[in-house]
């Protein structure tokens, strides 16, 4: 059966890379006696995939891993076993069975929520709340996306699904719901840098603390009842796709 696991990454663990986390979970599954399924062939490996790698230095309360198991373990038992075998900074939040035919997290992830804060002494000179509002007043937000091979300019405004500031702290943190996945993957820094650039300021090095809050997929309205996952029908002229947390696709095992 296919299982979706939601977990956190915080504290010292934010300095582990994506490969370290995969390696960690391979061992965690064995330590916690989860009946993980193995691929067949000369060198069998655990059937496991992750939604979207988290950059080194980011924290998260909404990471996802899909695995395949050979038998059922109740969600509560699995959580207990896995958390007992885990370390500080990685907490397993849910262990849910995916419906038949559900796409895996890696191919269905379409958006993610981020909370961007500022490290001590690294806040900008401008008012963040005002600057964010001004940024979204503009008809388009053009950024330069650099990859290893090329540079391209892109209007990211349609790919920012939500934005607001949270006023609990000063300077306030910025909440962003961003397009992500294999097609239009927008990193929160890109939005922040666009804001700085508009204000003619350069962010200081490692200025931002970034926390991923959750990841989403989109459900086409006709299929909502059946909970069939689709990546169609998102983005586009002001039509907000229907986002559903990757966590909500599965159901708890009794």
């Amino acid at each position: 059966m296919k299982i979706r696991v939601r977990f956190t990454k915080s504290g010292a663990m934010k300095f582990t890379g994506h490969l370290d986390v995969m390696h960690f979970f391979q061992q965690l599954l064995r330590r916690s006696n989860i009946p993980i399924a193995y691929s067949t062939g000369m060198s069998p490996h655990q059937i496991m995939s992750f939604a979207l790698p988290l950059g080194v230095g980011y924290e998260s309360v909404g990471e996802y891993m899909d695995i395949e198991t050979t038998s059922a373990v109740s969600s509560s038992a699995a959580l207990e076993q896995m958390n007992k075998a885990s370390v500080e900074g990685i907490e397993i939040l849910s262990y849910r069975e995916l419906p038949q035919g559900a796409k895996n997290a890696m191919s269905s992830v379409a958006a993610a929520d981020y909370l961007v804060g500022f490290r001590e002494g690294k806040a900008p000179s401008f008012n963040v709340k005002q600057a964010l509002e001004d940024l979204f007043e503009k008809p388009e937000i053009i950024v330069t996306k650099k990859t290893k091979k090329s540079e391209r300019t892109l209007d990211i405004k349609p790919l920012i699904y939500e934005h607001h500031t949270e006023t609990l702290t000063d300077p306030c943190s910025v909440f962003l719901k961003l397009s992500c996945g294999s097609v239009d993957n927008i990193k929160p820094e890109l939005v922040m840098e666009a804001m700085y650039s508009m204000m003619n300021e350069e962010p200081s090095e490692h200025a931002f603390t970034i926390k991923r809050l959750d990841m989403y997929t989109v459900i086409s309205s006709s299929d909502k009842g059946a909970l069939t996952v689709s990546s169609e029908g998102m983005g586009g002229d002001g039509v907000m796709p229907d986002f559903i947390s990757l966590d909500s696709i599965g159901r708890d095992i009794e």
Partner: protein, 657 residues
């Protein structure tokens, strides 16, 4: 949530921050207020090397099993972090509590190879500790070291308060109790060390006085050499070690090596540390035995871990399962100097193969002799197409193999290769040494000849239509470095030019071989071998050289990328110390050697006898074929007394992986 010693900004700026954060599975957290002793255990190299070291895993688990002790780990920060720590004044910290090392009661450093000596000083400097023991006070941690390099601790003796000679399991508890007692009385480091030196295996360098004098073996100092080759001014002669004595009668004259006499069920970790990053030994390691019966004359491990002691089969089975379950690792490896000599190997391997199949695990079996049994096992645990078969003949001719007592004949090697080729392997690795005592040109060329014979065997044996490409033979040579407590401890070592010349000789001989296209030849860097040789048999006068080399920039000398020979050569000349004195000289049998005060159990008479046998090309039997009277019988332990379960002796000496 634990607070880290390094800020987010620093951790994001450096390479592999995961080296410095701790928090690994099975790392031990304790309440610092609830323990009496805080021990910082340091491997003075990168995290990924140190975390692969079995000895440290054993002692970490053992010390933390004591309720009153919290043992934490420290590794060398790489140069990128070192620079930042110095700029920002951040003191070196342990991984668990992230507290400064300076606040600990003990700083214990394991010394596994000579080329980490400069890193000792990096650890001390970053900890905010003085290099020399005499300059550190009552409030500084007690600096103690262990590991194979302690069999000649003299080059670094002035840095350490205590040198633990032997296996760490036996005396630390007593040392901790003594420390607690001394602290209750109001701690005085000198008084504590006075008492510590009476514990078996504990050497306190400050309680021994060394003098040097002019005798026949003396040679010129670098300064004198530069001025005048024939200088006869006594000040220009580099004197010999003349005496080595305790400062008073209550300090033991000799320090006896500690060992675990009953190893069969001796303490072993059940919950090994599991690193987040991929490290060198990313697997559960099962130590099946200690010591070796083979008596190769160049091999220090073969002497200092005598006698061979096995762990019991049932204990090993239980340990393997517990460690795999508690770590979640997907691979297990056996550790010993010569796994084929473990008397219950077939039963252990059968058990592991079955367990591994049921649990989707891998097994790796290094140090196996190539024979029908091992090839059969290897076929079961690895992919023949991807693996190679390894032999370590060490020398190119039978004559020289007799000199070094490597009881492996050309017939053995060819027979092993034949079985391997018929079994489907076509990759062979061969390991040799250059610069062994009595080595001649024929011996050197023999390296190429035996490589060629193996290739020829393959083409004769395997019909064209069954061959999967060419046979691939990789021959590697390292340079022989005489080590203390081996029969070759008196031998002269080659210099750089000689080594380079010999390596070229092998290379030319290889190229003249019929099958040279099937043979690849590698050789080790020469500069680092010469320095390792000097440090291996050095005396206390080298501490100044180590400090100088460190100040010149030497650190991470075991890494080709960071090793710079000039740092060291400059240090030798700046200190006016002739490196040749330590490397090029053959010692006379009556010379006082810097490590003579250590009693490893193997007596000096045996080593002398073996040195003589070597020169006469006489072979000495391994312990199971007949006792050679090395002296360790007195421990009444291991192979010396235990004859039950001894397997029928097979032909000697090759490894496979």
């Amino acid at each position: 949530m634990r607070k880290l010693a390094l800020s987010d900004e620093i951790l994001l700026d450096i390479d592999k921050p995961v080296r410095y954060i701790g928090n690994e599975v099975n790392s031990i957290m304790k309440d610092p207020g609830a323990v009496d002793i805080r021990f910082a255990m340091c491997f003075p190299d990168l995290y990924e090397i140190g975390m692969s070291h079995l000895g440290m895993q054993i002692l970490y688990s053992l010390f933390n099993s004591y309720e009153d002790v919290w043992c934490e780990r420290v590794y060398s920060p790489f140069t990128d972090l070192e620079k930042i720590m110095k700029e920002k004044g951040i003191p070196l910290f342990s991984l668990e509590s992230q507290d400064p090392v300076k606040e600990f009661d003990f700083l214990g450093i394991t010394l596994q190879y000579e080329m980490c000596y400069s890193n000792i000083l990096q650890i001390l400097e970053l900890s905010g500790l003085e290099f020399y023991s005499k300059d550190r006070g009552n409030d500084d941690p007690i600096l103690i070291c262990g590991g194979p390099c302690t069999y000649n601790p003299e080059p670094y003796a002035d840095f350490f308060d205590i040198v633990y000679i032997g296996e760490g399991e036996t005396q630390y508890r007593a040392l901790f109790d003594l420390y607690k007692e001394c602290r209750e009385e109001g701690f005085d480091k000198k008084a504590f060390l006075r008492r510590a030196c009476k514990l078996p295996g504990l050497y306190v360098p400050s309680l021994y006085k060394v003098t040097y004098g002019l005798t026949s073996g003396s040679c010129l100092t670098p300064e004198a050499k530069n001025e005048n080759e024939n200088d006869t001014d006594p000040g220009s002669v580099y004197p010999m070690l003349a005496s080595f004595e305790p400062v008073s009668d209550d300090v033991p004259k000799t320090v006896k090596r500690e060992l675990v006499t009953e190893l069969s069920e001796a303490f072993y970790p059940e919950k090994p540390l599991v690193p987040f990053m991929k490290v060198t030994q990313d697997r559960v390691v099962l130590e099946i035995m200690r010591g070796c019966t083979r008596g190769c004359r160049f091999c220090q491990a073969g002497m200092i871990y005598r006698p061979l002691r096995e762990r019991s089969l049932e204990f090993l089975k239980e340990s393997a399962v517990k460690m795999l379950e508690n770590s979640g690792q997907d691979e297990i490896s056996l550790s010993s100097l010569s796994s084929s000599d473990y008397s219950r190997l077939p039963e252990l391997v059968d058990f592991l193969i079955e367990y591994a199949e049921n649990n989707k695990l891998n097994i790796s079996l290094p140090s196996l002799r190539v024979d029908a049994f091992s090839l059969d096992v290897m076929k079961k645990v690895q992919d023949v197409k991807k693996s190679s078969v390894t032999f370590a003949p060490e020398a190119g001719s039978q004559r020289l193999r007799n000199v070094i007592n490597k009881g492996l004949s050309e017939e053995d090697i060819l027979e092993g290769c034949k079985k391997a080729f018929l079994g489907g392997w076509n990759r062979i690795k061969l390991y040799f040494m250059l610069g062994l005592p009595t080595e001649s040109e024929e011996d050197i060329k023999g390296i190429a000849e035996i490589s060629d014979s193996i290739a020829r065997l393959y083409y004769d044996l395997i019909p064209k239509e069954e061959r999967k490409g060419k046979v691939s033979i990789t021959a590697s040579t390292s340079f022989f470095i005489p080590k203390p407590f081996t029969p070759f401890q008196w031998a002269a070592m080659g210099d750089k030019e000689e080594f380079t010349k010999k390596a070229h000789m092998v290379n030319d001989a290889m190229r003249s071989m019929l099958n040279h296209k099937s043979i690849k030849y590698n050789w080790h860097d020469t500069g680092v071998s010469v320095l390792e040789g000097a440090l291996a048999r050095g005396d206390r006068r080298l501490s100044g050289v180590i400090v100088k080399a460190y100040e010149n920039g030497a650190r991470f000398d075991a890494w080709t990328e960071t090793f710079k020979e000039e740092y060291w050569l400059d240090a030798f000349s700046e200190c006016n110390v002739p490196i040749d004195f330590y490397t090029r000289r053959e010692r006379s049998l009556d010379e006082l050697l810097p490590w003579d005060f250590i009693d490893i159990g193997v007596n000096k008479e045996f080593l002398k006898r073996e040195w003589k046998n070597a020169l006469e090309e006489k072979v000495t039997k391994n312990c199971r074929e007949g006792c050679a009277g090395c002296g360790v019988m007195k421990y009444g332990s291991g192979v010396c007394t235990d004859q039950k379960g001894v397997r029928e002796e097979k032909k000697d000496g090759v490894g496979a992986n």
